[in-house]
């Protein structure tokens, strides 16, 4: 701390705690402005550290139908799902609900 001087013992402990917090793994805590990352999608592949973009783990093991639209519609990541934005604008046009109509999703050959 540059502008505040800890005087009593408790202030010393507060300062030490702040120093520890600064050394924390900030990448997992910060949410910078950036591309949309679907819930249920982990960008961290180290075993044991897989978390979604909010730092949570609850939505990571869901059936593919659950986050199909999120991956198809807005994700920037080159996924194993046809992307609506550039290549497959009509891929889901016959499929209002992936849970019910998933058979209407056809294969796509680039």
């Amino acid at each position: 701390m540059k502008h505040l001087k800890p005087i009593n013992q408790k202030a010393g402990r507060i300062e030490a705690q702040m120093a520890r917090e600064e050394m924390d793994v900030v990448g997992l805590e910060s949410r910078p402005e950036g591309p949309h990352i679907p819930l249920g999608c982990s960008l961290v592949f180290a075993p044991g550290w897989e978390v979604d973009s909010t730092g949570g783990t609850a939505g990571l093991c869901q059936p593919v139908e659950r986050d199909l639209f999120d991956c198809h519609l807005a994700c920037f990541w080159p996924a194993h799902v046809p992307d609506q934005l550039n290549h497959s604008p009509d891929w889901t046009s016959q499929c209002a609900s992936a849970q019910k109509d998933w058979r209407k999703l056809d294969l796509v050959f680039p």
């Binding site: 507060i14 600064e22 910060s30």
Partner: protein
């Protein structure tokens, strides 16, 4: 990592100035930081209302660079002097102390008889909780109960290596034989279980014979003498049953005690009343003329309307003199000299450590009283009251009852205190005072608020000034 925010607003702290510097006492953490001019300017600006960080930078741009202001905002947010406007205030943790919290101090009421009849006495006077002349409790604690109490303390102190055993009364020395036996027994048993016990007692000094003084000194028993000051002050309230004043009786005995007993510092404890408020005179008499190492003052505990009750103007007078004595203490501390005003020392120690209390004192937690019959009580002041009992020394602490007590008396329940900056130190004040004044131990002592805040503010100023003028002295409070 601190996330970006919309508007920033002040959070809870108490600002004070000392030695030309500005300090913050943070609430509820009780941390104290000295702040520089730019941080001070930020706080002054935010005192007019919430501002976005950009607005703060713009407003202060004539004096400080944007980087400097951003730095200041970040640090002030980190110590929680400021925070996001409208963000929910962090509540005090509702945690109760862990189960089986160790007992570190046991106050043994070795007798409920007294050879004095002090007018204001909380045990026998008009505001007594229990009339011990009408109960089945023995007048004197027996050897067996005292030994059981020692075993109780050794067991309930758990992993703590040093525990404290304080003898109390009535007049403690009326039961001197049991004191002797108990101390010898306790020392032996403590050694057997690998602990150390420290002993102390409170006495009115009327019964200090040479052989007793000798024993106190040889056994390193800490002694606190209850005394109100010079003859005219002492004899007003501290009288024998005949009404005769006790000053002439205690004076030579105290002199002898102070001459002979050097193994522990000996303190005087003064009860202040409406008629007994010349604190400078009392302090000077007890230190310079009597020779006490330290003197502590406490206003009398009384229900409203007693003729010795201190009134508002009396508290003003008391505060003024406390402030003056505290500044005397400061000048001594700056020169590394001893000064015996113990009230300021006790508060400074809490300020230095940054205590932030969920309970006003250790009663019912780390400290308990024991009656002559072996009942465990909230503290020595509640001895013999069935409503404030926590089991017996033979059967141990009634943990269920203790838990209920701790639930009911937590600062979270004292909603009046939730907006007060002095709550980390005060936490609502003495249970006995609350019981006497307001009829229940759960009540915060609202009649003391102004006094507590003014006194705490004075002590913060003293602490801040000492930290600038003689910072090494603060190590005295480290232990």
């Amino acid at each position: 990592m601190i996330k970006p925010v919309g508007q920033l607003a002040l959070r809870e702290f108490h600002a004070f100035e000392a030695a030309g510097e500005r300090f913050l006492y943070l609430v509820p953490s009780a941390g104290i930081f000295r702040i520089d001019a730019a941080s001070s300017a930020i706080l002054d600006l935010l005192s007019y209302g919430p501002r976005a960080p950009g607005e703060v930078v713009n407003s202060l741009s004539d004096r400080y660079s944007a980087d400097r202001v951003h730095d200041g905002l970040l640090e002030l947010r980190q110590i929680r002097a400021i925070g996001e406007a409208g963000a929910p205030v962090e509540q005090v943790a509702n945690d109760l102390p862990p189960d089986g919290f160790p007992l570190t101090t046991m106050v043994l009421n070795v007798t409920n008889k007294c050879n004095l009849a002090c007018t204001y006495c909380y045990e026998y006077g008009e505001d007594k909780i229990v009339d011990t002349t009408c109960t089945d409790d023995p007048k004197f604690m027996g050897d067996e109960t005292a030994r059981e109490s020692v075993e109780f303390l050794l067991k309930e102190s758990g992993p703590i290596e040093v525990a404290h055993l304080t003898f109390f009364g009535g007049e403690t020395l009326l039961n001197f034989p049991v004191l002797q036996d108990t101390v010898a027994y306790a020392r032996r048993r403590a050694e057997e279980v690998g602990k150390r016990l420290e002993f102390s007692l409170t006495t009115n000094a009327t019964l200090l014979r040479p052989d007793i003084i000798e024993w106190l000194a040889d056994n390193e028993i800490g002694v606190t003498v209850s005394i109100d000051g010079p003859k005219e002050m002492q004899d007003r309230m501290r009288v024998f049953h005949s009404g005769k004043g006790s000053y002439e009786t205690v004076k030579p005995r105290i002199k002898e005690l102070l001459r002979r007993h050097k193994s522990r510092p000996i303190g005087a404890r003064v009860t202040l009343t409406r008629e007994n408020l010349d604190i400078h005179r009392i302090y000077q008499h007890l230190t310079e003329e009597m020779g006490f190492w330290e003197v502590g003052f406490a206003p009398v505990t009384t229900s409203s309307g007693r003729d010795y009750e201190i009134e508002d103007e009396g508290y003003d007078r008391m505060l003024r003199q406390f402030g003056e004595l505290a500044h005397d203490w400061l000048e001594h501390a700056v020169e590394n000299r001893h000064h015996g005003f113990s009230n300021v020392k006790d508060t400074l120690e809490e300020i230095h450590k940054g205590v932030s209390k969920a309970y006003p004192c250790g009663a019912g937690l780390g400290l308990m009283g024991v009656t002559t019959g072996g009942d465990v009580s909230l503290c020595h002041r509640f001895a013999y009251s069935n409503d404030h009992s926590f089991g017996t020394v033979a059967e141990g602490i009634d943990r269920e009852r203790q838990k209920d007590f701790l639930e009911d008396h937590h600062i979270k329940n004292k909603t009046d205190c939730h907006t007060c900056w002095a709550r980390p130190i005060c936490s609502g004040g003495c249970y006995h005072e609350a019981h006497t004044r307001h009829g229940e131990t759960t009540a915060p002592n609202l009649h003391f608020c102004t006094w507590v805040r003014t006194w705490t503010h004075t002590c913060l100023e003293i602490y801040g000034e000492l930290s600038e003028r003689n910072p090494e002295y603060l190590a005295h409070f480290d232990h």
